[in-house]
């Protein structure tokens, strides 16, 4: 599939991997630029990981520090697990972008700067006294000053566009430069532009011209002595696509609906970074998906509960603050034992916090955030592509066990992307669902002896008329019941029902050393960083293993035993130690936390350092 281009170059260096970051003003189109580069590299066959980092929800004034938007992509010839700790090449569209991002550029790293945006007032907006282009502060880098704006305008002068429209294309000039630098084909982006600007071919043309001009600029000028080649990665065979976590989550639920024969219902209320799941699903009406944008999160989850009661595969998606609002109703789903999947796309907190930044500090809320004893299964996705599988698994567990299930992902997974091997339909297990229809001996709270699930008896079924609700129910009959012994049995049964799910969870098998000095235990989006750190540590001869939990409640049965195979257990988390606490309580191991709460993922070296420190 991947096409290559024969480009003349001065020197062509082959690299294992590279990290580029596009940075500019929110209005500069950096997210699109980054996505295009990513997509092209994916099609070329690189493995990759991305990290889009955009400003908080409000648009800051152009050119200012809070308005800086960045997109980082790490692409390589072998497994890539993180977007990269440091940046090999930085494209900075204005002084603010330069200032905010320079710290992450490697010494001697490639630095492309749009010099047209370094006027007096641009510097002022970025709170810079004088131009870094002139004060030798960039001497440590390979600086390439480019008049991006002027050159773009020059390239487009014949199209008859106004200045504003021309300037909007300058990100494609930068993209063209990067395509030259990394020997990439422009074809996929041509296709994308044609599709995107179907109605306005002049804009497709303009962007293509700008891109070609950027490409040609590198080829023509003597500025660039070297270009780079990153060969395709040796991924396991199959069909691949580049996928973000939110997309994977959305189609995971559609897949589960299709494989269970249920209709999918989503009750949701917009909130960053979860809204895209609603946007995605609302576009898939051909799959019979009902999306309900409710008046708030409470209505969203309650409508989902209603839909579950009426026999649909019901989900609700949100982020931290919205999750808090849903908790009372989730307790109702626990009590009424209805299948429901609740997705919390975590973001920085507490309260409104850092809405566009990532964090994994809602584990406590997921496990414990309801009144009284209301246990439920909690799953977490590890990578963008894993969101698909976690969605599928959550849906399967919910309908099989008649239980609400919480899925945790986070802003980093939601917006990040990776090449994802597309499963065939047959690889997706069928999900057995049978609604109760037989009125003989029907009792709404009679249980399956193995799973303890109660029957799913949906309104409209003759002869099964019954009442459910949030008051404690009598065993078997489901009638309202206040007896002490019945209550205790029901509390324990609900807990046992969830605990038994452990029977279906595969044993954990540590990556790396099966026993040794340090076991890294992670969950969620830290997967990539830990995996990369593990490889580096083992390459240095450290005896380290890694367990990454996808099921956080119940925990895999052999986890305690695995923990004890290592001298020390280290738990890296983007919170103050939440899984850590659960593991310490459950297994009484003196596990140590590695905690980072900065609204951004771990760097690989932070994990390495911690392990080295523990190894002392």
């Amino acid at each position: 599939m991947a096409t290559t281009i024969e480009a003349p170059y001065r020197r062509k260096e082959t690299l294992e991997s590279a990290v580029i970051r596009f940075a500019g003003d929110s209005g500069d189109g950096m997210q699109i630029t980054g996505s295009q580069f990513t997509n092209t590299s994916a099609l070329f066959g690189n493995d990759l990981a991305t990290f889009p980092d955009f400003p908080a929800e409000i648009r800051a004034p152009a050119g200012t520090l809070p308005g800086v938007s960045g997109f980082q992509v790490h692409f390589g010839a072998s497994d890539v697990h993180t977007p990269g700790d440091a940046v090999d090449a930085l494209i900075a569209m204005n002084p603010a972008a330069l200032k905010v991002n320079l710290g992450d550029l490697k010494p001697n790293g490639l630095l492309i700067v749009n010099t047209d945006n370094f006027k007096e007032q641009d510097l002022k907006k970025a709170k810079l006294e004088k131009s870094p282009l002139e004060d030798h502060s960039l001497d440590a880098y390979r600086l390439f000053p480019v008049e991006l704006t002027r050159l773009t305008r020059a390239a487009l002068k014949d199209l008859g566009l106004d200045a504003k429209s021309m300037d909007r294309c300058k990100n494609f000039f930068a993209l063209g430069m990067c395509y030259w630098l990394y020997n990439r084909s422009m074809e996929p982006t041509y296709r994308w532009l044609d599709d995107k600007f179907k109605g306005k071919p002049v804009l497709a043309e303009a962007n293509k011209l700008a891109m070609k001009a950027g490409y040609a600029y590198c080829e023509a000028t003597e500025q660039f002595q070297t270009s780079y080649e990153i060969p395709p990665a040796k991924l396991s065979p199959g069909t691949y696509r580049n996928i973000s976590g939110n997309t994977a989550l959305a189609i995971g639920f559609i897949a589960a609906a299709q494989r269970s024969g249920l209709r999918l219902f989503q009750g949701s209320y917009p909130i960053t970074p979860a809204s895209d799941v609603l946007h995605e699903l609302s576009a898939y009406k051909q799959f019979g998906v009902t999306t309900f944008q409710a008046e708030d999160e409470i209505a969203a989850v309650c409508a989902a509960i209603g839909a579950a009661y009426a026999g649909q595969l019901a989900i609700t998606t949100t982020s931290g603050p919205g999750m808090a609002l849903k908790m009372e109703a989730i307790g109702l789903a626990v009590m009424t034992e209805l299948p429901l999947v609740i997705c919390d796309i975590q973001r920085g907190g507490p309260s409104t916090g850092l809405p566009t930044k990532t964090e994994q500090a809602d584990l406590f809320q997921a496990l414990f955030g309801r009144n009284s004893e209301a246990p439920l299964p909690v799953l977490a996705a590890s990578t963008p592509g894993d969101c698909f599988w976690i969605a599928f698994e959550a849906a399967r567990l919910a309908v099989k066990h008649m239980v609400p299930v919480i899925v945790l992902t986070d802003g980093y997974l939601a917006n990040g992307a990776e090449p994802w091997r597309v499963p065939t339909v047959d690889e997706l297990p069928k999900i057995d669902v049978s609604f109760r229809t037989d009125p003989a001996d029907f009792l709404p709270y009679e249980r399956d002896p193995k799973t303890l699930a109660r029957p799913w008896a949906i309104p409209g079924t003759p002869g099964l008329e019954h009442r459910i609700g949030g008051i404690e129910k009598q065993e078997r009959t489901g009638n309202v019941n206040y007896e002490p012994a019945n209550h205790e049995r029901m509390v324990k049964t609900r807990a046992e029902k969830v605990a038994r799910i452990a029977d279906e969870i595969p044993d954990v098998v540590p990556a790396g050393d099966p026993d040794g000095d340090v076991l890294l235990v992670g969950w969620g989006s830290t997967y990539g960083s830990i995996t990369a750190a593990l490889r580096a540590l083992r390459a240095r001869g450290r005896r380290v293993g890694h367990v990454h939990l996808r099921h956080l409640n119940p925990l895999p049965k052999n986890l305690g035993e695995v923990l004890r195979r290592y001298r020390r257990v280290v738990v890296p988390e983007m919170n103050l130690g939440q899984l850590l606490m659960v593991l310490r309580a459950k297994y009484l191991v003196d596990a140590i936390g590695l905690n980072k709460v900065q609204g951004k993922p771990f760097r690989q070296d932070e994990i390495e350092q911690k392990v080295e420190e523990v190894l002392g």
């Binding site: 069909t239 696509r241 309104p459 949030g470």
Partner: protein, 338 residues
């Protein structure tokens, strides 16, 4: 199944009815249980959804599908049910606290969307279940558990709230007026869009005589006015009083002395402008005016939310064909690794 003939008994459950003896809720239950069999709808198609409150125990006593949810959320749960299966007949039983205090927002959004639900709002102007705090419909100065010196909040007028939220069907019944109540229940049942029915209900324990001043047998004829579509607004024990329009205002007039029924306002429940029903809904706030009961507004031309949602899906499916899972999985740019 359409021909099933039910009796009231078919809608009764084996659960002990746990309201205080003398509670107005019994009468409402009786009325609903006697109207449901008339509707010719298979029993299993009914779902009664409620929140929390004395009134919200209602589903337990109806031998249909029932969902006693959480405080204030019945309209949201019911909306989900209706979206999942528009064929179901979904009734919501709620109270003045459940439906207008904690659940006020869901109530108005459900009405705005025109979800095809029938809402029975049991208005006893008190929180019964939690033993007697004032509610958003309690009159100013109410001495209740949490207001020993009298409440100072101005009350809602439920029908005005509903009309402000775009309601197409707005009506009022009274617990102790069974035949009339059954009549409005039938009308609510017949309405396809959202039907909002306030039922004046006595709580003989915590707010005895909640509506005494207007519904007591002796005063009823003078204090209530039963609306009938196409009929002039006449009331009074001797049907000797009426409501006349004076500019934009209503006025109470005595019939006779040259004033005849022809001078009176003729009730038009189909008036497309809700301002008319809104005007009626304000009568209760003005001294000397009777409180309207019956159907204030019944305009059913707006499509139901659940139908619109279902149609949109059907249209997309008709255009794009039923979704293809393999296609979905492979959407966008894909590539092969050998």
């Amino acid at each position: 199944m359409n021909a099933t003939v039910y009796t009231r008994k078919d809608f009764q459950t084996d659960q002990e009815v746990r309201w205080c003896p003398g509670c107005g809720d019994y009468a409402i239950l009786a009325a609903v249980q006697s109207v449901f069999p008339e509707l010719g709808i298979p029993k299993e198609k009914f779902v009664v959804v409620s929140g929390i409150g004395c009134s919200s125990r209602f589903p337990y006593y109806m031998n249909t599908y029932g969902f006693h949810s959480i405080h204030g959320r019945a309209p949201a749960v019911a909306t989900g049910i209706k979206l999942a299966n528009p064929e179901l007949e979904v009734w919501v039983a709620t109270g003045d606290g459940d439906g207008l205090s904690i659940g006020g927002n869901h109530t108005i959004h459900m009405l705005r969307r025109n979800v095809g639900l029938k809402v029975l709002l049991f208005n006893n102007r008190i929180y019964g279940l939690t033993k007697g705090q004032y509610s958003p419909t309690s009159e100013v100065g109410k001495k209740a558990k949490s207001t020993p010196y009298g409440s100072v909040d101005r009350p809602f007028h439920p029908l005005s709230v509903a009309l402000g939220a775009e309601a197409g069907f707005v009506a009022r019944g009274v617990d102790v007026m069974q035949p009339h109540l059954k009549g409005v229940l039938r009308r609510a049942a017949a309405h396809r869009g959202s039907a909002f029915l306030e039922i004046l209900q006595n709580c003989n324990i915590f707010n005895d005589g909640a509506w005494e001043a207007i519904v007591e047998k002796e005063v009823r004829d003078d204090r209530l006015i039963a609306l009938e579509h196409g009929q002039p607004l006449v009331f009074g024990k001797n049907r000797d009083k009426g409501i006349r329009l004076n500019g934009l205002a209503l006025e109470v007039v005595s019939l006779g002395n040259g004033v005849t029924e022809a001078d009176l306002l003729v009730h038009d429940e189909k008036n497309p402008n809700p301002a008319y029903a809104f005007l009626l809904s304000r009568m209760e706030t003005e001294p000397g005016f009777p409180t309207p009961i019956g159907v204030l507004r019944a305009v059913d031309d707006a499509p139901r939310y659940e139908d619109l949602v279902a149609n949109q899906i059907a249209q997309v499916q008709a255009k794009k064909g039923a979704g293809d899972l393999a296609g979905l999985l492979h959407e966008g740019d894909v590539w092969e690794v050998k």
